[in-house]
């Protein structure tokens, strides 16, 4: 969303929030984009959100500041405010963002012919060994996870079995 001050901010709206008008205190809690949000995608777990910026995005003229390329991560924290996950991971224009079910983020930059791959968890971001990958004039990307469902680590120390599942009778 774009606030009256022309800041581009990220909000998550529940059905409850949608019935209430925004107020200044709520707006102040919303994190702002460092990059100009041209593409975005949520992780399968629903707690990580990636935004790709494109400096050539046509609608970027709606902001007073120049559009900024790059890749930015946000943390969705349930009922608590969204928090930014640090600065930009790269400064090139991003055209596509995908996640697999193993905490991997794939960001394709057509203009530079680069594919960035990161392991992104709520506690850290690291580049996958061997990335970044170079391609000649890439156009689009599809990610097919080899793990069919997401199995995130338990919140506390322990083991969480995601499969096989026991169907209640």
């Amino acid at each position: 969303m774009q606030s009256e001050s022309n800041l581009l901010q990220l909000a998550n709206l529940s059905s409850e929030v949608q019935r209430r008008p925004y107020h200044n205190q709520y707006l102040a809690e919303l994190p702002t984009f460092i990059v100009y949000p041209a593409v975005m995608n949520m992780s399968p777990s629903g707690d990580l959100f990636a935004v790709g910026g494109d400096s050539n995005y046509p609608e970027a003229t709606i902001t007073t500041s120049p559009p900024t390329a790059g890749l930015q991560i946000f943390h969705f924290n349930g009922a608590n405010p969204i928090t930014p996950g640090g600065g930009t991971l790269t400064t090139v224009s991003i055209d596509e963002i995908h996640w697999d079910n193993s905490d991997h983020l794939y960001a394709l930059s057509n203009s530079t012919g680069k594919l960035y791959v990161y392991t992104v968890t709520p506690t850290g971001i690291t580049a996958v060994p061997g990335s970044l990958y170079s391609f000649t004039t890439p156009n689009t990307l599809i990610v097919v996870p080899t793990i069919t469902t997401s199995c995130s680590a338990p919140a506390a120390d322990g083991v969480k079995i995601c499969a096989p599942t026991v169907v209640p009778r």
């Binding site: 322990g158 083991v159 969480k160 079995i161 995601c162 499969a163 096989p164 599942t165 026991v166």
Partner: protein, 71 residues
Amino acid sequence: MTSPVQIQAATKVTETLSSVQLWINGVKKHSIASTTLNTSIAVTAGTHRFAVVAANTPGQKWESAVNATVK
């Protein structure tokens, strides 16, 4: 559920992870040094106990198990 059975688990341990082991009916079938386990294994028909045990280098262990029936 039919054989082969996909076993998928995620772990979190303090200290350094030593191993994550898959046990079926009390028999160790698989062991890796990764916080996530994702493997398929042939299992005979019947109800089996699938247990995943994570251990850290000091020797602490965490276990979770489910019973599942293979047709």
